[in-house]
Amino acid sequence: MYIILSWIAVLSYLVTETLYWLNLVSRKLAYAKLASRFLVISLIIHFTAMLARSRQLHLVPYKDLYGSLSLFAWMVALIYLALEFRHRQKSVGAFLLPIPIVLLLLGTLLNRPGTHTPSAELRGMLFAYHVTSNIFAYSAFTVSFILSMLYLLQHHQIRVRRPGLLFSRLPSLELLERMNRTSVAVGVPVLLCGILLGSLWARKLHVLWEWDPKLVWSIITLLVYAGYLFLEKKGTWKGKRSAIISVCGFLIIIFSYSVVNLFFSSFHKFY
């Protein structure tokens, strides 16, 4: 059931993405308005899919690839929607939505059916909140990554004095920077919470504090983004340099999601 719903969600996201592009190309605002509506619908369908999955497993589905990728995708889309509302800017969607689409597609395709019987340690609210906040924070940083790339692109276009095809359609440097700051400012405290919740949960399992590689990398990520916020506020690093920090932070996340997860981490394996 949840697989069918996931496919419907993928389709709905694709429609949304098409509408965002149509808006960029034709500049009809009607497309953008429709796109936002479709995004809301996609999020609801996607949520229903995840709900169906967790009903089946009787817990929030993190332990498998589908669960973590799908939740990641959902949150990226959700954070984008929130940003769109907050900053009244609809042209970024076309660049951002491919991420949730690919994530959800991967999750659905690579999903191996069969019920993972969850071990006792993977139950409980504390654990659920820990994982949810971490994924949420990483989603916020992913959004920040896209915004930073757009910033660098726009900056480059101004610098080389060659306003390209999308120059007039993309938001201003100032707005991209503001949207970027919002998403990082949301991500940092949530990641901090996630790490703390994780350690509380570990304590409950009578593990006092273990320097798991995944934990180390999470803390590094946290520091990088906290540094972003600090330097951004100070002004010296406003603009291009902040964008580069955000891109670096994202590369660290990719690294810790892939390499660290697969080869180093002991109990932070998702699948």
């Binding site: 610098r159 004095r161 060659r162 007039s168 201003s172 440097l173 010296t236």
Partner: protein, 424 residues
């Protein structure tokens, strides 16, 4: 009934001619009133800008009062008729509709995509509307033309990319700073180019101007014009601190602002971005200031090359704009043709009904006394015959998809039943 247009524009008439036939709003009102009194046209609108003077109208029959209107224009402006020979163009129906839609979309403008024409079309229409010179057809035509203009503007690039130096500067500033309202602007050197740029910035909501000039008087003059402040040249360094945008056009032979100069400044303004627009020749601002973090610098050549690139881009999009115009012309003509079918049917029915009632009354009188039931029956019988006969032509006329065919049918009906005597 046909839409009719006669006029001249920047292609058919040189400026010496155009300026003689401009209608001021006041003159437009007078001319509109005189035109409707003359009775050549049923509805009329005058569109007059510095690039065109055009009279749109709706003719009574099929014949266009071309000569009359031409002579009217000449008389109105006290021009000998020969002076305008060859300047006028004249179009009807679909061509006239297309012409107006192209005008409103700025496809017929001297600078394709220029933004003012749409407002001018709207104003011309509002003026005629207030003067009660328009009716159902021209109302719709002009409302549509404004919509078409907006649509072309929104869906193509022809109006989106700035092609003048000052608007390129403003667009770039907007891409750096976002909303320009509340941004501070410093003007170095109060020349004509700076004035133009300041003007476009002011149009985009910038209200905070400071002007500094070697001659303080001129600085005060320009500052007063845009409600800004004038700053003595000696206080340049202080003046540089708050602004985000600096427009420089002094006649200084050396750089007025150098890299080291700016490096000092940037730390005290917390490295907030700065945008320099150097429109002076020789240049005022050391190109190396761009190496300073968060400083953007455009000089005259940069602005020029972008403006030229944009102009080429605009032209590339003309076919798309023309396609939109075509689409809208078709829709409008469809509506217009529908307009001729519906009144035809109505007047046909009216005429037949009239015949029926007169005949009925005459024959009832001849029949002598009849019961209520019989009277009703005879009435119903005649009604039913009339309806049955009219049913087929009504449906067929309305259903004819081809516009020209429908118009021909309507025309035939009007001729055969002699419907044109009636008011509709």
């Amino acid at each position: 009934m046909a839409i009719f247009l006669v006029g001249l524009n920047h292609i058919t008439a040189p400026v010496e001619v155009r300026e003689r036939v401009v209608f001021t709003p006041e003159q437009s009102r007078t001319a509109l009133t005189q035109l409707s009194e003359n009775g050549w046209l049923r509805e009329e609108v005058i569109l007059s800008t510095c690039n065109r003077s055009e009279i749109y109208g709706l003719t009574e029959g099929e014949l266009s009062p071309l000569e009359e209107i031409r002579n009217f224009v000449c008389e109105f402006h006290h021009i000998p008729p020969d002076a305008l020979n060859g300047c006028f163009y004249h179009q009807t129906q679909e061509e006239a509709v297309r012409h107006l839609f192209r005008v409103a979309s700025s496809l017929d403008s001297q600078v394709v995509g220029e933004p003012h024409i749409l407002g001018q079309v709207r104003n011309a229409f509002v003026l005629a509307l207030e003067n009660k010179s328009t009716g159902i057809v021209l109302n719709r035509l002009f409302q549509k033309s404004v919509e078409v203009g907006k649509r072309v503007r929104a869906e193509t690039e022809i109006g989106s990319r700035p092609v003048s130096l000052s608007s390129v500067a403003v667009e770039t500033a907007a891409k750096i700073f976002g909303k320009l309202e509340g941004r501070a602007v410093l003007v170095l050197g109060a020349g004509e180019m700076s004035e133009l740029t300041v003007e476009s910035l002011a149009l985009h909501g910038v209200g905070n101007f400071a002007v500094t000039n070697r001659s303080f008087d001129r600085a005060q003059e320009l500052a007063a014009k845009f409600h800004g402040t004038a700053i003595p040249w000696e206080k340049l360094d202080e003046a540089l601190l708050p602004p985000d945008i600096i427009i420089s056009s002094t006649s200084s032979p050396d750089f007025v602002i150098t890299k080291s100069h700016l490096e000092r400044l940037m730390s005290s303004r917390k490295h907030r971005p700065m945008f320099f627009i150097d429109i002076a020749l020789p240049r005022d601002i050391d190109p190396r200031v761009q190496e300073v973090y968060n400083v953007y610098l455009y000089n005259l050549d940069d602005l020029k090359s972008i403006a030229e690139g944009n102009r080429a881009e605009r032209e590339k999009d003309i076919p798309r704009a023309e396609k939109i115009v075509e689409e809208e012309v078709r829709l409008f003509m469809h509506w217009l043709e529908g307009l001729t079918a519906v009144p035809t049917v109505t007047s046909l029915r009216k005429k037949v009904e009239q015949i029926r009632t007169t005949e009925l009354e005459a024959h009832l009188r001849k029949l002598g006394p009849l019961g209520e039931r019989e009277r009703n029956l005879i009435d119903a019988l005649t009604q039913s015959i009339v309806n049955k006969i009219l049913h087929e032509p009504t449906i067929r006329l309305k259903r004819t998809a081809d516009e020209r065919e429908r118009r021909d049918h309507a025309k035939a009906l009007r001729y055969l039943f002699d419907l044109d005597k009636e008011e509709w």
